[in-house]
Symmetry: D2
Subunit: 191 residues, 4 copies
């Protein structure tokens, strides 16, 4: 009996492009299964034995934590440009498209951003409600377990939590405190 | 000609309690004005010469940055308890009241929290919309100027910004990206 | 058979001042034990039944999370003042002392800060190496479990982790990347 | 008289690959200079008129802010894997190499990471001391000016600040406070 675990990345595009595979198992098991793994992986790479059983999904989990951070980095940057009062009305799609070539921030995620913005430049049809499927949470918990700071991944997770909340108790607490010490007016609850 | 600047803290309560004063000026100027300053300050302290002209407001500015962090610390903690699924329905006012005596987190802000919660235990009448009056921003800018990390004060400021936004472009970007790579469903815009 | 759990706060000072007690148990159990609990608690309060068994330590855990945030808020503020190039050499102890009276940021922790700085104004005898005893980690995990953002408590935890690290792999990665894309010089390893 | 500003990205690689150009000027000025701009830009894109004069460098500034966030996301992820106690000794270079193909986190920065790790897998010759050249600071200041939260970019900046500090006053403050309230032992200053 031998065990193997294989984390995968590439989203719905993996079917066409091959799946990036992160495989946890013993060396001999890996060699035995290599033909099968190579069939699933992209033609030109995207395959690694990460270590013993379990390590494949550990690496996949961290991969997704990194993904959260990359996504949030772009999201923040585009929001700063979108809301700029100094240069209002800049074309987010044109900027994303230009950054795709030659720039330091070019990436596959940026390719997707440029494509998504070309379909709906103001993202008018999308609500800013962002789910998470667990890997970000687990990456933060792994970081805490290892006593490693992970502010970027953690905040990317918290930004998703916050996107799903409205009129939070924490914010009400702040407004109440400001009223208490400074007499600052509070806004009453939305009708 | 001599200059003096004096930052103050204590909110609307200063009128009754005296104002904590942070005074920037030369030593001799301070001595000259001391009777006046002592009249304004609380009877038992709350008065300091911080250094040369300008330093009084610098210290007051940082004071307010610290205040942002203290407020946000309480707000986060109470929100975690308020939304606890393990122990639903805990009495925030009773907890705040108990913490006021003997605990490590007792403070004047906590006194105000207990008082505010006693008037409106669910904060039902208050909207979670939090203004800022500039000192938090300036503290962050001072930290950046000095190359000093200030994550707590900065996040306390950002939490206020976020409280004033709805359905942000950044969150729409994230939802769009997730849809692009993973085929994750997006929620369409609220009607 | 009845269960009760009681979290406590007050540090080594509890022996003299009484311990702030957060008690989880049924109402009848609480009433039964009240004389004992009142003996341990401060004379003038600092005692609360938080809910069913287990809730006492949950509230104590969050209390410590809040404590991390309060501590970090002060630490950040004093560091910004200590390292100020605009107003070098300000007296941290004098400022802490003044803030204790009348200001919005007065608290028991600030009393301790003023006392600590009076003994060693530059903190020359203390290394910036900060342990943690678990409650901060658990508070962050509880927040993640409840899908509640907790940036301040989390960063306060990460700042402690970071205080115990030197020359991190993350920072080496950044220096390496900057060298790769920009030809920016790297510093070689310390001898 | 017409003005034009052009921010650029691509690092030292621009000489070979062409420079991604973000150009701020009037439409007619842009058209007039287009042959020159196309000579400098990559053959297949990497060129955009962002808006009026000044907007080119605004977009370039935000680009660098995004870059900070992307870099920090990778740095955090690799550190979590590098320090994993569950799966010690994983091969960072092999993982980076695999992620380059097919994965969601593939990017040009990741190409550079894989290359850098192939030259020095433990980054043993590089000190974790990370400079910044200003654009991250300005992006945070722009975000604050616009009242937009920017936690990822800000923390990436603060992580760089922290990499250049040792035994900070903030950390000493925390250690002192813990000693004051809890009697927790402090480490004395390093010799």
């Amino acid at each position: 009996m031998h065990y193997m675990d294989a984390g995968t990345s590439g989203g719905v595009w993996g079917l066409a492009n091959g799946y990036c595979l992160m495989v946890g198992c013993e060396e001999s098991t890996y060699e035995h299964c290599l033909p099968l793994l190579k069939d699933l992986a992209p033609d030109d790479g995207g395959l690694v034995r990460t270590g013993p059983e379990g390590s494949g999904h550990f690496v996949k989990m961290v991969h997704n934590g990194v993904e959260y951070g990359l996504m949030q980095s772009y999201a923040e940057g585009f929001e700063i440009m979108k809301l700029s009062k100094s240069f209002p009305g800049m074309d987010m799609q044109a900027i994303a498209e230009a950054w795709r070539t030659g720039s330091v921030v070019r990436s596959w995620l940026l390719d997707l951003i440029a494509d998504g913005l070309s379909r709906d430049p103001q993202l008018a049809g999308i609500r800013g409600f962002v789910e998470d499927t667990g890997e970000g949470r687990w990456t933060v918990e792994a970081a805490i377990e290892e006593s490693v700071p992970a502010p970027i991944i953690t905040h990317s997770l918290f930004a998703r939590f916050r996107s799903r909340m409205e009129d939070t108790f924490a914010d009400k607490m702040l407004a109440m405190m400001r009223n208490q010490f400074g007499g600052h007016a509070v806004q009453t609850e939305k009708k």
